[in-house]
Symmetry: C2
Subunit: 410 residues, 2 copies
Amino acid sequence: MTRPFSALDSNIDQALLNSLRPEARNAPTSGIIDIVNYAREKEGLVPLWVGEGSLPTPDFICEAAHQSLKAGETFYTWQRGLPELRQAIADYHQALYGRTFDSEHFIVTGSGMQAIQIAVRLVAGAGDEIVIPTPAWPNMAAATGLTGARFVEVPQYFSHDGWKLSIDDLLAACTDKTKAIFLNSPCNPTGWTASLDDLQQVLDFARARGLWIIADEIYTRFFYEERQGGNGELGPTAPSFYEICKEDDRILFVNSFSKNWAMTGWRIGWISAPTALGDVLENLVQYSTSGVAAFMQRAAIAALKEGEPFVAEQVERARAGRKTVLDALAKVPGAKFAPPSGAFYLFWGLEKHEDGGALAREIVDQANVGLAPGFAFGQSGTPFMRLCFATNPENLALAATRLQGWMAQR
Amino acid sequence: MTRPFSALDSNIDQALLNSLRPEARNAPTSGIIDIVNYAREKEGLVPLWVGEGSLPTPDFICEAAHQSLKAGETFYTWQRGLPELRQAIADYHQALYGRTFDSEHFIVTGSGMQAIQIAVRLVAGAGDEIVIPTPAWPNMAAATGLTGARFVEVPQYFSHDGWKLSIDDLLAACTDKTKAIFLNSPCNPTGWTASLDDLQQVLDFARARGLWIIADEIYTRFFYEERQGGNGELGPTAPSFYEICKEDDRILFVNSFSKNWAMTGWRIGWISAPTALGDVLENLVQYSTSGVAAFMQRAAIAALKEGEPFVAEQVERARAGRKTVLDALAKVPGAKFAPPSGAFYLFWGLEKHEDGGALAREIVDQANVGLAPGFAFGQSGTPFMRLCFATNPENLALAATRLQGWMAQR
């Protein structure tokens, strides 16, 4: 018998790490996780750093999982997802966009993150490029890097009437090596939201160049501007590629049950793609996690079929939270922010302050509020911090008061 | 508004497929799924094609998930897994192998498949090679191919006293491009099981060459030979690298809750690695599925802490199933098989018959028994078929009778 498994020698550690594939070894640690780990145990802290609210998953969704477990649905199941769930997702899209959808477009995945991972692996590998407007949710860039492909940042820029993205800049960043444009609208973390004209311009370009679009419209229900048309019976959504695309366009939509239905911890999502890709997508699911638990899928069906009142409540909660936060920061001298068009984050900083990471630590230490440092979202995010306002009103009001008090003393 | 999403034109389909990354487009469809889809609806069929039994997950495990859901554990959680689960996995290993384990070695994954995917991506990419004895579970080779690495098959060979692998052949297949040896023992589908000497030889070679070993010992509890020593309080296991390795050896153990605890549909597993890899593994989890639902992990804790009587029952069931199948085939003239040392499959064929895929279809059509075609497990498996005997005795007896009847008529 050898010595017990325990702490290691640091030279041996380094040799072990050196023997790994560089893309894996160099995958960045999420800058969000870093600060969460820094302050996880801090008493009384108001955590607004991650993209989730304070409500657990509604009972009727949990109960659907429970009933499925009781019925013994614990065996291997369809790799593409239960036919009933795929149909429910198609019906949901029909209600959102007022056009018909074939369930064959939809493949169930083990999280929105897995949908992204699969989308990236479908289209890009070593030597390829994916163009990504930043600030952006860091996992997209990291998933790209892990394939050996390069992600090319196109900076959004801050203005006092909202974050902006130049579509001309975006398209100009595409080279012969570009395989896909990743477009997250409404954007996490900035709230920037593409207009239908923006989307049309990107789609025209992608069609002309034969590029793929990876469309992350996860926050489409969380949209705070007035708009006419383009929507189905479920009410307002942000402008969507679904309003202008054809069935054979090279668009991979990635989506998740996490945000609308308060299912962040479940890890269930979907990908939507031209039906010709069905077999390839099934294979990629098979060789990633081999499908999603049937009892989880039953819960997802319940969410889609009975969840509209809850989604409406979530959206109203975010809308109210947005107002609380905007009102509070309006009273903070030097706060640099603009009303976000969509999603449920405020990406803000302080005038004449270039290090959002240092600010976020200071705010944890001095105001007991948890924010995500902007550098986590790409270089152009460095001076900023992300605050999630999709949480309960009491916590948000408390955080607002604390931030005001902190600035007054600063 | 454009035309509705519906069936596509085949030229457009082909163009879409051509625009994908070749490694993704060319990922093989599982030959097991193919025959399952062929005969899924066939009435009265006895399905022995996939690696699961007929028992659903035990109630006490499902109930732990239910209680966690009721307690509202539906939020984002630890990327490496709940500390309590990682400790429970460490304790389980201690009980299996009679040595102490630090919980820092264990990272929870969204299935054994994801553990394999992460292990492969940790060590190999385009231009690299992984050496794999075959017949083998096809997903390992496919996961390797998806990274752009090449898998090198080293054929096991059939003999009437069991499947054999020449360790010399295995080591001789390693070149300068080899990054890892994948060793699945007991082997799915052949039941071949490495001796401790075999493992020592592989480990010595890997140490000398700086290679990684990806060790799939998922079936270690399903072992049918007598052996002395090396085991902890939980009783006999197959020979394991854990009996001879040091904590800093380059071994990635992949494992799953699927088989021991009848949790195939859950998609939960773990990877065990030198602790120096913890941060890198956490990142790969983050960028794959971002963790496993907390309520699933509570179920996994219950499985580990209270599941030993059930595991013992599962092992006994497989042992009895093995006997049923071996006795039945002994009465089938021309059947080509040998008693498997471990796992819960019989990988068998007919003398003078080289096409196991055709046989499997014939058996579906004429005997109403579902077997997996051998070609799915690599070229050396082509003449054979895989039969899972970890199912209920009545089904197995029925399948045995049908196979005897089919051969008598053939």
